[in-house]
Assembly symmetry: C2
Homo-oligomer: 120 residues x 2
C-alpha cells in the first residue's frame, strides 16, 4: 500500500533559461521544438500541444530572437506553406535541454528517494 | 562583450513534485518554508515574498496535507498568534529541495556551458 501510494508522486525538473525576467527557454518551448522536429509543421506541432497557431508562431519568434542563430525555419507561402523545421542549432538546443533534464534527474535521485519517504 | 552578454543569462531549476495535477512542492512553496524558518511568522514570511497572508496560509495547509507529518506549526490565537515554525520534517523537506537544486545545477553545468555558446 505504502509503496503504491509513493509511486503516484512524480518529480519534474522545469529548467528555465532567463534573461532578466524573460524566459528564453523553458519546458513549453522545448516541447514545441520537439513537436516541430517530429511533425515538420508548425500547425501540427501547435495542435499536438493544444496551443493556437498564433501562440506557437510567437514562441518560435521568441526562440529565434533569443539565440545567435535561428532555431526554426518556417515557410509562410507557396507550396511549402506551414512547413517548419529545426535548424542544426535548434536540434542542438533541444538536445542540450533534454540532456539537462536527464542529468538532473539522475543527480537528484538520492535526494528524491529521501523526500519520497516523507510524502503522504 | 560576448562574455558579458552571456553572463546576463541565468539557468534556474524549478523542481516540482506532482501528484496527478497537484503541485505538492515547488519553488514557491520551498521559498515559503524558508521564509517561515527565517522569520518565525507566517505574516512576515508572506510579506517578504509579496504574497497575501491568506495565500500563504493556504499553501501551508497544502504542504501540511501533502506529507506524512506536518511541515509547519502555526498558532492562530493567544500570545503566540501568527507565530509559525518548521517541524523537523519541514526542515528536512526544505533541505532536500535545496539539495536537489544544488546537485542538479552542478550536474547540468557542462550542458549549460554548451547551451550558453548558442545564446544570443
Amino acid at each position: 500500500m505504502k509503496r503504491s501510494s509513493r509511486r503516484s508522486y512524480v518529480l519534474r525538473p522545469r529548467w528555465r533559461v532567463l534573461r532578466s525576467r524573460d524566459v528564453i527557454l523553458g519546458p513549453g518551448k522545448a516541447d514545441l521544438l520537439q513537436a516541430i522536429g517530429r511533425s515538420g509543421s508548425l500547425r501540427l506541432a501547435a495542435r499536438s500541444l493544444g496551443m493556437s497557431y498564433m501562440r506557437a508562431w510567437k514562441l518560435v519568434q521568441m526562440l529565434n530572437r533569443g539565440f545567435r542563430e535561428r532555431l526554426v525555419l518556417t515557410h509562410r507561402g507557396g507550396a511549402a506553406h506551414g512547413a517548419a523545421r529545426l535548424t542544426p542549432t535548434g536540434r542542438a538546443v533541444l538536445d542540450l535541454y533534454r540532456e539537462m533534464e536527464k542529468k538532473s534527474l539522475s543527480a537528484t535521485a538520492p535526494s528524491w528517494r529521501k523526500l519520497q519517504r516523507l510524502l503522504g
